[in-house]
Subunit: 343 residues, 2 copies
């Protein structure tokens, strides 16, 4: 493929013929083909079957015409090797049956060897990379240390993340140990993905937006920064978070070639605040895909205008595709992005 | 009491001897006295018993030393009179058993007469106003039209508000009719509260932060603006929302004497962006109250510094007190705000 694909050029803020587009959760429940597979295979088993995971990864490339593939999986996959019992109950989100309660729970966490503990994930990357035959680049990904820590402490999703913040503010030495270990795991995990074929990386700090700027700066930023410094050399890295429009400058300080923005902020405003020495990814509200083609086109146009047709804008949703989204609306959206942004 | 209480002066951005403080959900489950009452009385029955609601309203004034009382109740109370079946299931949040599905559901909504349909609430205001004997001012409140609409359409809390946005973007004429009716109800409701004794008002647009700036501007702002224009003359109004740090300029455009800020943004940055012709309220992360006195004091200090000791800062949490909060930490926090801000 070389390094000249439109998506990779946009990551480097080089001019492109049109604005590249991919979607978070572009392979998922909104697709009939995915639901057919999931009727036969549980989520975690699907993640652990490299051939099936590769097949699912390739679905949206064939069906939607997106400009990048993202390897199918879940940010929590590396946690099993660290010693946690993961469960994905239907409609409930992930559950960790043995969340962190004591310092000993953190001390006994294993630093994984990706080639051993998540070999299925790396194998899927290898298969996808081969099958893509250079059509579009492949994105690898990981959860950021804070977001991973929040799952490990809460045991699943949380409304207010009060246990996580309780440990962070109440037991600083435990927090440091936990974040150190998660940073180390994430560095190894991302490097292994690039080694096996990922062209670019996305770091999901999805729940960083539950924090105040002060607490992000003091208790999260140093770890994300080290992680990005030690992996960002290998491949372009997209740093994504939700609800952080109040402290984007700190997200930028932590690092990333491209900053992912949710839909709660105008891209133009976001980019002005970030500065034009980083790329920007986003930021259509996923709910817009539940409306009409006319409404979708108007919103796509608005996002492109906010991106200012400036090199370095990668079109995406502000968060993942909703399961109830009609697939024809997603196809329409991708086509609209290409058509309306063509220079 | 007159108009010279520290809280009311801060609402008008006049100098005060110290920074006034109150807390969202300052009367609630974290207090033993409240739990004792709730063991005997269900939530909705408590709201509908003016004497008990008044007693609960006064608890934090006596116990915490806060600078304002806020009448006890729920933003959904006026919806029953409009024709909805409200339920507050323990630990589940509010449920509306007959949410909006068709245009007819909107057409048949009644515009309430507050003196008839929420007389219990107005009666409680009258009692509290009398019992306060001028010690601190009393805040009345209402949900904003968008946040009320989201409950009416989703039937309760929602993760992504996709039904609400679906109706907003997919059925603009239904949306307009619904927002018109909710705006009218809210205007009447807030005016009646001032008439019966509320010194100030807080408008809760708690879930506006699920929207993109574009959709807020097109589909929400005009209604909130009219509402604030037609009630803001009567008493100082605090306009509160969560997760809107990406479009604070639009919240300000909608109006309010004071803008309530959640904890995801530095107050200094927020006030710079808003301009100093409005007051600002906030913004300690409620989770900080689960940590130590030392940590609480450091965070209080930081919030006060961000507020810059400038007239017009009202100290509050960024959202409501968490139920698991130790009451002695709240007392300590209120004392710390007064001590550290005394000029």
């Amino acid at each position: 493929m070389g390094e000249d694909h439109v998506f990779l050029r946009a990551c480097r803020r080089e001019p492109t013929e049109y604005t590249p587009v991919w979607l978070m959760r572009q392979a998922g429940r909104y697709m009939e083909e995915y639901r057919d597979i999931r009727r036969k295979v549980a989520f975690l088993d699907l993640c652990k079957s490299p051939d099936l995971a590769a097949e699912v990864t390739l679905l949206p490339v064939r069906k939607l015409g997106v400009d990048a593939a993202i390897i199918f999986g879940d940010i929590l996959l590396p946690l099993e090797g660290m010693g946690f019992h993961l469960e994905f109950a239907e409609g409930e989100g992930p559950l960790i049956r043995n969340p962190i309660k004591e310092r000993e729970d953190i001390e006994r966490l294993r630093i994984i060897e990706p080639e051993e503990h998540v070999s299925f994930f790396l194998k899927a990357i290898e298969i996808v990379r081969r099958e893509l035959e250079g059509r579009v680049p492949l994105i690898g990904f990981s959860g950021a240390p804070f977001t991973l820590a929040s799952y490990l402490i809460e045991g699943g999703h949380s409304k207010d993340y009060s246990k996580t913040k309780g440990l962070m503010l109440g037991e600083p030495s435990w927090w440091h140990l936990l974040m150190e270990k998660l940073t180390e795991v994430t560095i190894r995990y991302l490097r292994a993905q690039v080694h096996r074929g990922a062209h670019a990386l996305q770091l999901f700090d999805s729940w960083a937006g539950c924090l105040s700027p002060r607490d992000y700066e003091d208790h999260v930023l140093p770890y994300s920064k080290r992680l990005i410094q030690e992996t960002g050399q290998q491949a372009p890295l997209i740093h994504f978070s939700v609800g952080t429009s109040g402290f984007l400058h700190l997200i930028k300080e932590a690092g990333g070639d491209v900053i992912g923005i949710d839909w709660r902020m105008d891209l133009k405003v976001a980019w002005e605040r970030l500065g034009y020495d980083v790329g920007i990814q986003g930021n259509l509200d996923p709910s817009v895909l539940l409306s009409s083609h006319q409404m979708i086109e108007a919103h796509v146009q608005k996002v492109l205008e906010s991106g200012g047709n400036r090199p370095g804008h990668i079109f995406n949703l502000g968060h993942g595709v909703l399961p109830e989204t009609p697939v024809e609306n997603v196809i329409f959206m991708v086509e609209a992005v290409h058509r309306l942004s063509r220079r």
